[in-house]
C-alpha cells in the first residue's frame, strides 16, 4: 500500500512531537546524572509508562499477534508474564537498588555489581561489555520491526525507512538523555495503549467476534484453543521455562532495570507493579486476540499473508488494512507501531551510551575524566550506536538474525543470577558472580545455536529439548554461582551491609 497525505501528515506530526520533547528536555540536562538517570526525579506515571514503553518493543506489537496467529492460545502466557516482568523488576530489583543508590549514587546497575562484589574493574567491565553486546543485538531487532512497518506503509526502500526512524529517535535521545526518553515514553505508551484498545476490538469484530474466532480456531486444530500444546514447544514444561524467560529475563535486561534508578520516591514502587500489569496486560491480551482474529480472516479468505519467512509478523498489519478501510487510521496505526519501537530503541541507545561512557570510560579507563567529557561521550555513543545498528539492520548478516532470536534468553542467562544472588544471598562472591555471568553468557549462546540449528549431539536432539534453551544456561549460571561462591572468600560484611544484602526486600 502507498500512504496518502493524511498518513504522511500524521506520522510527520508524531515525529515533530518527539523532536519537540527532545528540545524541551535538553534544557534540563546539566550533568551526567541528569542525562543518565533523569536527575532521579521521575514521577509515578512517567515511571510506569517508561517501564511499559521500555518493555513493549516493536516486536511486541508485530510478534505478539504473529505468535498468536501461529500457535494460538498456548502462547497466551506471554501476555501474563511479560507485564509481570515490570512488577518483578520493581519488587525484586528496584526497591533495594533505589534505596542503596540514594547513598551510593549509582548511575548504572554495573555500579551496584562493582560495589556489591568488590569488583570495580573485572565484573563491571564484563557486565558492561555483555550488556552492550546484548543491547546492540536487541536494538538491531527493533530496527527490523520499524522497517517492516515503514516499508509497508510508505512503500519506501528499507534504507530510507531505517534512516528516518533512526534520525528522529537518535536526535531526541542524544540531546535529552533519560528525560527525553522518559517523557517520550509517556506519550508513546499512551498512544500505544489507547491505539491497541481502540483498534484491536475492531479487528476482532471484523473477524466475526471473539467467540466465532475461537470456534474457527477449534475447527482448524483443537489444540489452538487449549492452554498448552500436548508436546514440544508450548507444552507445560516449555511454558514454565518461557514464563521464567519473559518475567525474569526482561526484568534484568540492562535497558529495563536501569530505569529503577531514576524514580524520585521509593513510595512510587508501591502501586507501580499493579498499575503496569493491568494497563500493559489489557493491551497485550487484545494484541494477542488480533493474532487469533488473523487465523479466522486468513481461513475465511479475507486476506492472504505475504510469502515471506516471517509472514505471521504481518498479520496485524493486514488485519488493520482490511478491517479499517479508512486510510487515516493506517497513519495512526503506523504511529502506534513507531511509538512501540521507538520507546524501546531510545532506551537501548541510552543504556549503551551509559555503559560505554560511565562504566567503561569513567569507571575503568579514566577515573579522573571531568563530568563534561563523560556527558559528551554519552551523547557521541548514542549517535554511534544508532547509526551502527542501522547499518547492521540494512543488511543483517545471518549470524545476527540468530542472535536477535536469542535476545532475551541471553539477557536472562547473563544477568539474572549475579543480580538476584547479589541482592539476596550474603554468600555470593565476586568469583561466583564472574563465573555465573561468563558461563551463563557462553552456555546460552551454545544452547541457542544447538537449538536453532537443530543439532543432534550425544543422542540429544536439541531441536526437541523440552524447555526454552535459555533455561539450561540459567541453571548452569545458578550452579556456577553456588559452587564457586562456596569455595571462595566471602565479601566483606561492611559491603554486604552497605548494599543491603540479605533475604529481604526492604527493611521496614
Amino acid at each position: 500500500m502507498a500512504a496518502d497525505l493524511t498518513t504522511i501528515g500524521v506520522v510527520s506530526l508524531y515525529f515533530l512531537g518527539m523532536l519537540a520533547i527532545g528540545a524541551w528536555t535538553s534544557k534540563k540536562i546539566k550533568n551526567t546524572e541528569d542525562y543518565l538517570v533523569a536527575g532521579r526525579s521521575l514521577g509515578f506515571w512517567v515511571f510506569v509508562l517508561l517501564m511499559i514503553g521500555t518493555v513493549c518493543s516493536g516486536m511486541s506489537l508485530l510478534g505478539v499477534s504473529g505468535l498468536g496467529y501461529k500457535v494460538g492460545w498456548p502462547t497466551i502466557w506471554e501476555q501474563i508474564f511479560v507485564p509481570l516482568s515490570i512488577g518483578f523488576c520493581v519488587i525484586f530489583f528496584g526497591v533495594k537498588l533505589h534505596n542503596v543508590a540514594k547513598t551510593s549514587g549509582y548511575m548504572t546497575v554495573q555500579d551496584y555489581l562493582a560495589h556489591r562484589y568488590e569488583s570495580p574493574v573485572a565484573l563491571r567491565s564484563l557486565a558492561a561489555v555483555a550488556g552492550i553486546i546484548v543491547s546492540l543485538i536487541y536494538l538491531v531487532g527493533q530496527y527490523t520491526a520499524i522497517a517492516i512497518v515503514l516499508m509497508w506503509l510508505f512503500e519506501i526502500p528499507l534504507w530510507l525507512a531505517l534512516l528516518i526512524a533512526t534520525l528522529v529517535t537518535m536526535v531526541y535521545t542524544a540531546i535529552g538523555g533519560l528525560y527525553a526518553v522518559a517523557w517520550a515514553s509517556l506519550i508513546q505508551s499512551f498512544i500505544l495503549i489507547i491505539g491497541v484498545i481502540v483498534m484491536a476490538p475492531i479487528i476482532i469484530f471484523y473477524a466475526g467476534g471473539f467467540t466465532h474466532v475461537n470456534e474457527v480456531m477449534t475447527s482448524i486444530n483443537p489444540n489452538l484453543v487449549m492452554p498448552w500444546m500436548p508436546s514440544g514447544a508450548f507444552a507445560v514444561p516449555y511454558i514454565f521455562s518461557f514464563a521464567i524467560l519473559l518475567m525474569i529475563g526482561l526484568a534484568c535486561a540492562p535497558h529495563v532495570i536501569n530505569n529503577v534508578l531514576s524514580i524520585k520516591d521509593v513510595k512510587f514502587f508501591k502501586w507501580a507493579p499493579l498499575a503496569a500489569f493491568l494497563i500493559y496486560g489489557a493491551a497485550m491480551f487484545l494484541l494477542k486476540f488480533t493474532g487469533f482474529a488473523g487465523i479466522t480472516m486468513v481461513k475465511e479468505g479475507i486476506f492472504k499473508l505475504p510469502a515471506v519467512t516471517n509472514a505471521q509478523d504481518y498479520v496485524i498489519l493486514y488485519g488493520i488494512q482490511y478491517s479499517i478501510p479508512t486510510i487515516a487510521f493506517w497513519g495512526i496505526f503506523a504511529v502506534i507501531v513507531l511509538a512501540a519501537v521507538m520507546s524501546t530503541t531510545d532506551r537501548l541507545m541510552l543504556t549503551i551510551g551509559a555503559m560505554v561512557s560511565w562504566d567503561l570510560y569513567k569507571k575503568v579507563l579514566k577515573p579522573d575524566a571531568p563530568d563534561k567529557t563523560v556527558l559528551l561521550l554519552s551523547k557521541i555513543v548514542v549517535v554511534l550506536s544508532a547509526f551502527g545498528t542501522m547499518i547492521l539492520a540494512i543488511n543483517p548478516p545471518e549470524m545476527l538474525a540468530i542472535l536477535i532470536w536469542m535476545g532475551i534468553g541471553v539477557m536472562l542467562s547473563t544477568f539474572a543470577v549475579p543480580l538476584l544472588a547479589g541482592l539476596y544471598w550474603r554468600g555470593a562472591t565476586r568469583q561466583g558472580a564472574l563465573a555465573a555471568m561468563s558461563l551463563g553468557l557462553a552456555s546460552s549462546l551454545v544452547f541457542g545455536f544447538l537449538n536453532y540449528f537443530k543439532v543432534v549431539f550425544a543422542g540429544v536432539d536439541f531441536a526437541k529439548i523440552p524447555l526454552h534453551f535459555s533455561f539450561y544456561a540459567f541453571v548452569i549460571a545458578i550452579i556456577a554461582m553456588s559452587v564457586v561462591s562456596m569455595a571462595t572468600r566471602k565479601t566483606a560484611e561492611k559491603v554486604l551491609d552497605e548494599t543491603q544484602t540479605g533475604w529481604y526486600i526492604s527493611k521496614q
Binding site: 492460545w73 501474563i80 519488587i91 540514594k102 474466532v213 508501591k270
Partner: protein
C-alpha cells in the same frame, strides 16, 4: 464459554487472579522509606 474449553478459561483466569492478588498484596503491605 466464548468458544473456549473450560480448562483454558480456568487456568488462564486463575493465573490472572493470582497475579493481581499478589500485586495487590504488595501494594497494600509495602511501605517503603526515603
Amino acid at each position: 464459554m466464548f468458544g473456549l474449553p473450560d480448562i483454558t478459561i480456568l487456568t488462564v483466569g486463575i493465573t490472572i487472579v493470582i497475579a493481581i492478588a499478589a500485586l495487590l498484596y504488595w501494594g497494600l503491605t509495602f511501605k517503603g522509606h526515603d
